[in-house]
Subunit: 409 residues, 2 copies
């Protein structure tokens, strides 16, 4: 997709008018920053996407209810890392209500304008006195360059912070979109959650913004898989506030929104527990885009494909077998498959290919260096239809098993 | 489920009139037996269940077509292990047709009465001259005690053969049901397939038999998961032939059919690649049985649950999080959870429990000994509804990753 957006620094505070802050309140045993605050300008619209799990934390219910009741408007979001506040019963909801009320009073906002996200251990309540004691210094720290600190404070088991900002000239003005996220395994040993936040300094009607964000999420966060597990707390909140942007620029705006969301989603997959590379699966030729995305996601999520990539084994049989179980109609006899530039199949049958070269392609990709090319590209054509789509995942290593089999006893 | 069935020996040849045989034709590099034959009595009905993958082998298409065209009748099934004959294009179908025609001539049957299953490497054609040369000795070896040999010859990467037979007194006569199966990972490095075969010496109308088998498969093979991957060749064939059985005994017959199918399915899960234990997930209290089975299967298939069990870690948070994403409605506040006899949750919230004792319960279960109790029981109550169901899986070990990441290059 070509679009006018170029990278800049600043994360979620790159867009004009957005403030952020972080402090160490003492919620994490590690002593790392654990309270993060993002404040949007007056009039901000906010679109939320939440975990589809039935078992979801009180803070997720609260966010969803407030956004629905407020017609897609919100001003602030507090994130506490250390305790997920999931499976904590009525106390969990009372704690979420109290945290947002205390913060709202300090920001001179109505409680309904304040959202909360929690990440950390499931089943353990938030030590509320510790959290509340952290709110004054948190509000005092709010500033227009707080994006980086805020991105650090939402992390739990992540190896690296994940943030990005883009800017473009649209309608004769400079627009910016910023984002930050956390998440590695969908649930580390009791550590819940993928969280994502996006900011944008364009004014967009709430309903149009909601639709744009939904499409961007389908093409990003809903297209990544680390281990197929969904957490109790997964949340993506996208804020937009600023001078109204003309509808003729909505398509370009959505392209930026999608690019930021995809960058964050890929960063989460790349940071998958025990992962040594990012896997990008691109599917084309299906009847529609949704079918292509479903096939791509099934391939990216296949344990056998993930193990083969980990072993740097160009195992085409596993890729087509995974595609075949995606519950999407296609003609197996039309399948063509590439691994990087190496074509492995045509017309549904294996081609002779340079196996050492294909294996070398895989071996050259490793996330350890992080800034080099660590992306294994799998490209599948399933027919002549107009549908296309991508998904991202990571390899499955014995390190993943060791991380997740750690004795807590 | 109480039923009148008790275990006997003999596998698929325990039921009267069924013959089986195996030979080493030379299809496997290992030099182990690789051709297996099962012959049913005149008039046998046969119900088939096949992989739901779009990418399926020619032999699967052939079996499905012949059973549909023949009104659910078949007499013989040939199994070759070594080559899966999947992704082999038109040649694959021609080879399946030729193999069954050659065998039909030797058995004096119509080709349409003969089925074929293939398992082994995907994308590699069957060396047909080797297979055909094995047919004469295979037919010569047919006998009423060939079940054990036949069960050995269908294996690929399995560690153990999987067979069972049950008998009961029904309607004043002795009835028997036998079964054999293969499969460990759904696809080992290019090694495809779960295969299962059931025999029964009761006469049952084809349509009723088909319905019975479908329900038994839903409660057995469709309720196991090793790694979530489905092969190109998965097939279950259930034969019944003998004196007609009165409809008043169909319920008891179906109980035996289900017991044999569940035994074979559990044996496949227990033999999962790298597995050290069997995981049995029992769910009750859902609106219907299908919902309970869906929840059970999601829990049994969760990588995080599998890793936790491998680490002998009583990690209840992962179990309820997996249940929550099964896309089945239930009230999270009603959830109760047991691990063996240890209750970990009530009313949707964690209970204090004896963590060392629960961990010891997990540690005592290991499939290495195979004959001791290696089953980790997870019991989840999700409400007061009438639905119940079970699923089976195995733990996820670093050994699984090593097996599946092996370099083929």
């Amino acid at each position: 997709m070509t679009h006018p957006w170029t990278p800049i620094t600043g994360g979620v505070t790159a867009p004009e008018g957005f403030l952020a802050a972080a402090v160490t309140a003492g919620l994490k045993a590690s002593g790392r920053p654990d309270l993060s605050l993002l404040l949007a300008p007056v009039g901000a619209v906010c679109a939320g996407s939440f975990t589809t799990s039935l078992v979801r934390a009180a803070c997720v219910d609260l966010c969803a209810e407030r956004l629905a009741a407020g017609g897609g408007h919100a001003r602030a979001v507090l994130t506490n890392s250390g305790q997920a506040n999931a499976c904590t019963g009525e106390r969990g909801l009372a704690d979420s209500l109290r945290a947002t009320a205390e913060l709202a009073a300090r920001l001179d906002l109505a409680p309904d304008e304040v959202l909360i996200c929690s990440t950390g251990v499931i089943g353990v309540p938030i030590p509320m006195e510790v959290l509340v004691a952290g709110l004054d210094p948190l509000v005092a720290a709010l500033g227009p360059t707080g994006g980086g600190a805020a991105a650090e404070a939402i992390l739990t088991t992540d190896l690296v912070a994940k943030e990005i900002a883009l800017e473009a000239q649209l309608g004769g003005r400079r627009l910016r979109i910023g984002g930050m996220a956390k998440g590695s395994g969908m649930i580390h040993p009791d550590m819940a959650t993928m969280l994502g936040y996006l900011t944008c300094d364009a004014g967009v009607p709430a309903d149009i913004w909601q639709d744009m964000v939904k499409r961007a999420v389908d093409r990003s966060f809903n297209a990544i898989t680390v281990d197929g597990d969904t957490s109790t707390n997964d949340t993506y909140l996208a804020f937009a506030a600023g001078e109204p942007l003309g509808p003729e620029h909505f398509e370009a705006l959505e392209a930026g929104l999608t690019a930021v969301s995809q960058h964050l989603a890929r960063a989460i997959a790349r940071d998958g527990e025990g992962a040594t590379c990012l896997i990008e699966v691109r599917v084309e030729g299906s009847a529609d885009d949704a079918g292509a995305r479903a096939i791509a996601r099934t391939v990216a999520g296949s344990s056998l494909v993930k193990c083969a990539v980990h072993g740097r084994d160009p195992n085409w049989g596993r890729i087509v077998a995974a595609a075949g179980r995606a519950r999407v109609a296609f003609d197996p006899a039309a399948v063509a498959l590439w691994l990087g530039d190496h074509q492995l199949m045509a017309s549904g049958q294996p081609l002779p290919f340079d196996r050492p070269a294909a294996s070398a392609y895989l071996k050259a990709r490793a996330a350890g260096a992080y800034l080099v090319d660590d992306t294994v590209e799998i490209h599948l054509r399933v027919g002549e239809g107009p549908g296309s789509g991508s998904a991202w995942g990571c390899d499955l290593s014995d390190q993943y098993v060791r991380i997740n089999a750690d004795y807590t006893t």
